[in-house]
Every structure is written in C-alpha cells, then in structure tokens.
Symmetry: C2
Subunit: 492 residues, 2 copies
C-alpha cells in the first residue's frame, strides 16, 4: 500500500512509545477506587503482566498507590519515562506537560477533561498544551478521553479495555463511552482487537493520524471507527480511498440530526458538518457506514470469515414458513433480491428433500428436523452455492440439533456444551463451503445466549460462520458487503 | 368491556377444554425423540405436574410411549377425552376427527401439516376436516401449527412453550417458528405469558376468535400477535377498536414486501393484502405495530411497568457525551423532541451536579461516577420528572455502580450478584418515581448479559424499570407509547 506520509510523523518514535512503551508514568494516580486516576494506574499496572515494562505513579499527596511508590512529580522518577498518562485537573496539565518534556517523555495520553469541550477559556488552555507539547517534542492522545490500549503489546491506559482479547480489529472512537460500548459488543461476539484509541478532543493527534498509522499496522486487518466529526475531512477521505482497497474501514457516524449535531459540538467540540456530505464521501471512498455498535460488529464478523457477495441475490433457507416470510421482508427492505432458483437446483433439492418442501426460494424445509450427522442440510447449502442465480445464502436453520424441549434458560454447563457443539458444526461447515467463494450468514440465538469469553483462545471468529440474532441483521450485512465488493471491483 | 359476541361461540365449553382440559389424547404420539408426535406427548405429560389431568397416547403401532399406554384409537381409551392433540399424517386426519366426534371430544389441536398451505388437494382435505369437525361439535386450532399452551392451567400441546413462566401477555402467532422466537425473546427479558396459540391455517378457529376470547381472559393484560394476513379483517379491527381501550394490542405484521407476501401465501395460505391498508387500520384502532420480536417485547416491558408518556418531549440523561449524541440522533429519527429544560430545572440540577455538567438536554454528567447510596442521580430523575417540558426520560446511566474494571465477561456468580443488586436499585427507583406519572426508560446491557430464569419467581418485570440494549430501542418504545396515549385520549 502506498499512502503518502502527509503528516510528517516519525513512525519509529512516538507511535512505538504510545503503543509499546517500556516505561510509563501515571500522573494524577489516585487511591480512590472508581476514580479515573485509580483506573488508569490499574490499567497501566495490568499491562506489566509478562511484559518488560516499568510503571510509576505520580501524586504528591500519596506515598504509595496499589503497591507502587508515588512520586512528587515525573521529574522525581529515577528511570526514564517514555509514556505519560495524565489524569490531573485541567489547569495543572500545562505544568505537568512541561515537566514531561524536561523528563524526555515521548508520548502522552491526556485523560483530563475541561478543555475546548467546555468553553472559551478551556479552548485557550487546550491551545496552550498543544504549544507546550510541540515545543517539548511530545505527541499526545486527548485530552478529554478515556485512554487507549494495544492488545498485543498489552499496554493500556483505558481500564475498560483490560479484558479485551487480541484480534484483528482496530478501534478509533471520538467518544469514550461509545468506544467502550463497541468493545463490549465486539467482545460479546468474539471479535478481538488490535488497538483501541479514545481520541478525545484531538488537540494534537487527529483521527486521521491514527488512521494513517493503522493502515501500516500488521496486527490490524480491519479498521473500525466511531466518528462525530472530522477535523481533516479531506485527508481522512484521501487516506480511506487507499486503505479500503487493502483493509476494510467500517464506521459508525453520529450526529446526523439537528439535536445530535448540537450535542456532538458540546461533547468534543467537533463540527459535525452536513451528514449528507459525509454519506457521499464514505460511498466514494469505500468506507462501510453502519448504524450502531451491533451492525458494526455484525459487519466485521462477516468480513473476517466470509467471502464478499458478488451481488445482491440471496437464497433463504428456513425450517419454518414464518421465518421465511420475515426474512424475505427484511431482505427486500434492504434491497436484496429473493432470486428464483435455477431448474437444476430445484431438481437437486427434490433429490434430497421430502416432497413437502416449498419448491422455491425461500427454501422452507417445513418442519424437517435434521438429526446429528445428517448431511441433507449440508447438501442443500452446496446446491444453493452452486446456483448461478445466488450470490449469498441466509440460513435460519439451527446450527445443530438440540432436543432441549423448551424455551427458556439453560444452566451454564448445558449452554457451554451446546456452544461447543455448535462451534464445531459451524467451523466444519465453513471449511466445506469455502471453495464456493460465496458467503453464508446464519440467523440464530446462540451468539446471544452464550457470551464469548476473553480467555477462550480455542475459538476464532475467522474460522466460523457468523450468527446473527435477527434476519434483518444478516440482510443488512449482505447489503453492505455486496456494495463494498461492487466498489472494489469498480476501483480495479 | 362490551364486545359483541359475533362468533356465537359458547365460552363455557370448548374454550375451557382447549385451555384447561382434564383429559387429553395425543393421537399420533411417537417414541422417536425430536418428532412432533413425541414432543406433543411430552408437552401434554408435562402439563399433568401438580394438576388433575389425564393424558393418553394413541398410536396403533406401539404399546407404550414415555411410560404411557398407547391405544389403537381414541375410541379405545377407557375414560372421557376432552381435548385431542392430533399429530398424524394429513390424509388420516379426517378419520381421526370422526372418531374424536364419536368419542365426544370437544376441542382439538391439529398439528399435522399438508393441507391448504400445500396445494388444491390439500385445500379440499382442509375443507373436509372443517366439515367433519362442525358436524361433530369439535372446534380446533390449526392445522399446520406447533400447538398451544396455557401457562396458568399448565396445559400445553406445544413443547416449545414448556418452560415459559406464567405472566400477563397472551401471544397469538400465525407462524410457529415466529411464535417460538417471540416467546424466547419474552422469556429472556422476563416477560411471562398467559396463553399461547400457534394458529396455523386457521381452518376453523380464526385469529379473530382467539382475540375475542382473550379480551375476556382475566390472566391476559396485554395481547401480542404475529400476523401474516387476516381472514376476517373487518372483524379483527372492530374487535381491536374496543379491546385497545382496555388492553394494549401489540402486533408484529409481516408480508409488507412483494416476496414476503408471496412467501406468506405459500406458508399458511394467508392473503397478505395491502400492507398500507393494514397500517391505516392498525392506526385507526389503536393497535401498536412493532417491527420485530425485540421491539414487541421492548414495548410490552414498558406497558407493564411505566406510565404512558403524555407527549414526545424527551430528556436524556447520560454519563458520557457520545451516548448523548447517539441517543439524541435516535430520538430525533423517531420523531421525539429533545426538549429544552425549564430554567428552574437548570437551577435545581446546578444545585446537585458539579460545575462541568452539560447545562442542557442531553443532561451529560461528564464522567461523574455515582457511588452506592449516592442520591444525586435520583435527584436528577426527580427534577426532570418535575419539568413541565418533559414527557419522559431516557437514562444511559448504569443502574448501579460496578467496579468491574473492564469489559468482557463475568463468571455466573458475579453476574448473578450484579443482577440482584441492579434489580433492587431499579425497583426502588421505580417506586420512588411512580408518583410523577412519567415514564423512565433505561439503556444498559444488563438485560442482555443476564438471562432471566423461568424459575425466578422473585422478580416481576411489572415492578421494575425496563432496560434496553440500545438507545434506539428506548426511543422507539417512547414514540409508540406516546402515540398510543394520544390515540386513547382522542377516543375519550
């Protein structure tokens, strides 16, 4: 990939310090559980697990926090400090930054709020800290953010990212809470993260800087972002136009209505701009725009494991007519076509299905209950993938046979066993269908009932078939990804 | 309520037999686990727990199933049989029904498929069984359905309803699978059911008959329905117009697009009709139309515990600006107004909040972390409810303080403890805010992370504040219910 380095950033210095520092000072560390200063120190200390990394606390009123000596200032720390995490009141940040510059700190994360997002005085203070940092050779995240994390180097200033497992998705967020919410959703469906940045007010580093950096980051296969407003819109879209050819960029952009735009301005001072302009620019640069956290993660799941659909013609496989009706409706509302099957597909299906099946698309198996080891359903998938009229399949068949005899809740042991069985069936199926180069999307409840565990390293979403809780979600993913494939082909 | 009994049904006979029979024959019972005949017998046998009820199996090829003697025919059963659950092949149903008539069976549930939904011959067979039943004095559910259940009398022919707890919502479904899906969603958020009917082809009893019956059913406070097409549209809407003044009717209507309408016709033979006509008729008769299972249950949760909003002016309370932006956008997209606060509300909030709060709506507490026992947040809720500009509040504050230090997953014990604490906080809050007569909707992840247990009788959703996983869902519920209140006031 060739992306012009318009920012003049030196990739071998502060980025390495930001995401992999070997020495960290938490300035404004506190001993009050639940305070930002406590969370930040805890996050930093967690990042020393099995990693060569020194963490120092700075707070003149305390002698020790969480078992770590507390220094009066960063200048009193005996060793070098590469990265500073700053959690002091806004009016003290300038002095702290000056001390950091003298100490030789290369990068900082300024969690502190009370700058440009508040009032004019705050904006002046923000300009001042940018000036101090520039002259002192410090690049920084924030202010007014919840921190950052690198799940591979295990470095984190955001406590909230502490238990997220390493994986292929980088996340940039112009809101801390939304970033946390997206991470939570991602974790719940098994998506691991490479890096996370809560960009805050973007006084120094802009969303565009992170985007450019992540384009080159080997651990990042997909870039996700929550956006309220871009400071360098033209640069963002120039970058995106190149990046989306190599790595999907999936965004959630807020602020499309009047009140939400006003709320965005008072939140991080971002100028939301015309939403229509954003929409057009996303489309022209191959950026996939999703509506909420769930859709964002739904789309990422499909990008990770399924081929992009060649078009918008869908086959729907179901075990009950009602689901066929609802899914047809959802697909058509999303602009997908319920394609007629080829005559030879009908014949092939007649060969394996009992006579009462629907003889058309949706393919309704009408109450058939496939038993374990039965290959009928796999054959149906194959026949549909071989059909030249079909670009992708949405399946409402359960991934496995359950004879649980009722709705309600299962005990954790039962759920665990069902999940394990379901995962095996899905990954086997994914392997068998891979040669066809067409996507399969499952609709089921398993992904909702069983949360993915951060410690569960035996399972990779890349190896399975995505499961969505509702057909609408599968339909929307197929619409987005058929569009993305058309975009990529037009750019060839 | 005065609803004209246009159907001429005698409520003291077959309805009692359908939902509370003391003797049941499962005709076509099977010993193959996972078969419909096995499921139906299992469901029927479960309904004898602690209830005076006799269940018989009928299958000439077997001598015993699940510990129950299997008879050659219903005529061989020694005692009386009030209700027959019929799970035999379609072509045998006429003979089985004749035998039932001779036996004095009052009501039947015909699970068997292969009638009007298949072809012309099936339609003729369907007409024949209606004729036999009419002449034999039998009223029946189906055919081509998954059965029914009464959660209070504990009678069930649908195995899928076996673990659903008793509660205030009746559910009618023109699709078995969708019915099951709605029940599963309801169970997962803690909504109990009064009765469930999978209406199937509605050869004899129509959706309108059940609706009329449920209007009088004391255990039913809310009627929910999944509809593909109405056989007696005029009657449905005449009934609905009266019922919605007393009991909310919440529907999910499918088949609004071309392909889904075709799929509906081949599913249960329903004529979907023009979706626009349905939409207009729902609006004219006070029926709340929702888009999917989640929305349906979201709406029911709010109906059960919160007052209806007097209008569409909303206050948004949040702990992070990003959520304020997203929620404002969701509210405005749903047509709600982000109302300006009254001057005295601003003053009251200034009195309890630290200076950095947003001083407007959305009310952003900006990183405040209320501790357990802190009454600041409760005061905020009170001040907003006292504001004459506000009709309802959406809160993105966590219901309780958690210091879990990260995203990811908790062990079941931790989750259980957090759930219990959260429930207590929410029910206390609900009690405190009740006098204001305005609704509060919470947005949080708890309802997703912790599934409600069917056995958990200590908790009633009626006593708590509904929690939704996304602000859009709260906004939509408020839109629906503000409309419903306007409708009711216009009808006064």
């Amino acid at each position: 990939m060739s992306i012009s380095d318009s920012s003049g950033l030196d990739r071998n210095s502060f980025w390495d310090s930001l995401f992999g520092a070997e020495s960290i000072a938490v300035i404004g560390a506190k001993d009050v559980v639940g305070s930002w200063g406590h969370d930040a120190l805890r996050a930093a200390l967690n990042s020393t697990d099995g990693v060569k990394r020194q963490v120092y606390a700075v707070n003149p009123s305390l002698r020790e926090i969480l078992g770590v000596t507390s220094y009066n200032s960063v200048l009193d720390i005996p060793g070098t400090v590469e990265l500073a995490i700053i959690v002091v009141p806004a009016n003290i940040v300038p002095e702290v930054l000056r001390q950091c510059a003298r100490k030789g700190v290369k990068a900082a994360v300024i969690v502190s709020a009370g700058f440009g997002e508040v009032d004019e005085a705050g904006a002046r203070l923000e300009a001042e800290i940018v000036d101090i940092a520039r002259r002192g050779g410090i690049r920084f995240i924030g202010p007014n953010c919840i921190g950052h994390a690198d799940m591979y180097s295990r470095l984190a200033s955001a406590a909230v990212a502490g238990r997220v497992k390493p994986g292929p998705m980088a996340l940039l967020s112009q809101s801390g809470t939304l970033g946390a919410s997206i991470m939570q959703t991602a974790a719940s469906v098994g998506i691991g993260l490479s890096k996370f940045v809560s960009t805050g007010n973007e006084a120094d580093l802009h969303l565009e800087d992170y985007l450019e950096y992540l384009a080159q980051d080997e651990n990042t296969r997909i870039i996700a972002a929550y956006i309220e407003g871009l400071r360098e819109g033209r640069r963002f879209f120039n970058l995106a136009k190149e990046i989306t050819l190599q790595k999907p960029v999936v965004v959630m952009k807020a602020g499309s209505t009047g009140g939400s735009g006003r709320a965005a301005r008072s939140h991080t001072g971002a100028l939301a701009g015309s939403d229509a302009i954003y929409t057009a620019a996303f489309r022209q640069t191959g950026v996939i725009r999703t509506e909420d956290e769930e859709e964002l993660c739904d789309t990422v799941l499909a990008l990770l494991s399924q081929p992009l659909p060649r078009g918008d013609r869908v086959a729907i496989l179901t075990m009950g007519g009602g689901f066929g009706v609802v899914t047809s409706e959802d697909c058509e509302k999303e602009g997908l076509k319920i394609a007629p099957l080829e005559p030879q597909t009908l014949e092939k299906l007649n060969g394996v299905l009992p006579p009462r099946w629907s003889h058309g698309n949706p393919i309704d198996l009408v109450g058939i209950r496939p038993s374990a080891g039965d290959t009928t359903v796999v054959s149906c998938f194959r026949f549909l993938m071989e059909d030249g009229n079909i670009d992708g399949v949405i399946s409402l068949l359960p991934p496995m046979v359950t004879s649980h005899g009722g709705i309600g809740n299962f005990d954790p042991g039962q759920l665990r066993a069902m999940q394990m069985e379901s995962r095996k069936v899905l990954s086997d199926l994914n392997r068998q269908l891979k040669p066809y180069g067409k996507p399969l999307y499952m609709v089921g409840r398993f992904s909702q009932q069983v949360r993915h565990s951060a410690d569960d390293t035996s399972f990779r979403v890349e190896d399975t078939i995505p499961e969505y809780s509702h057909p609408r979600r599968a339909a929307r993913v197929m619409r987005y990804l058929a569009w993305y494939r058309r975009y990529l082909e037009a750019r060839k």
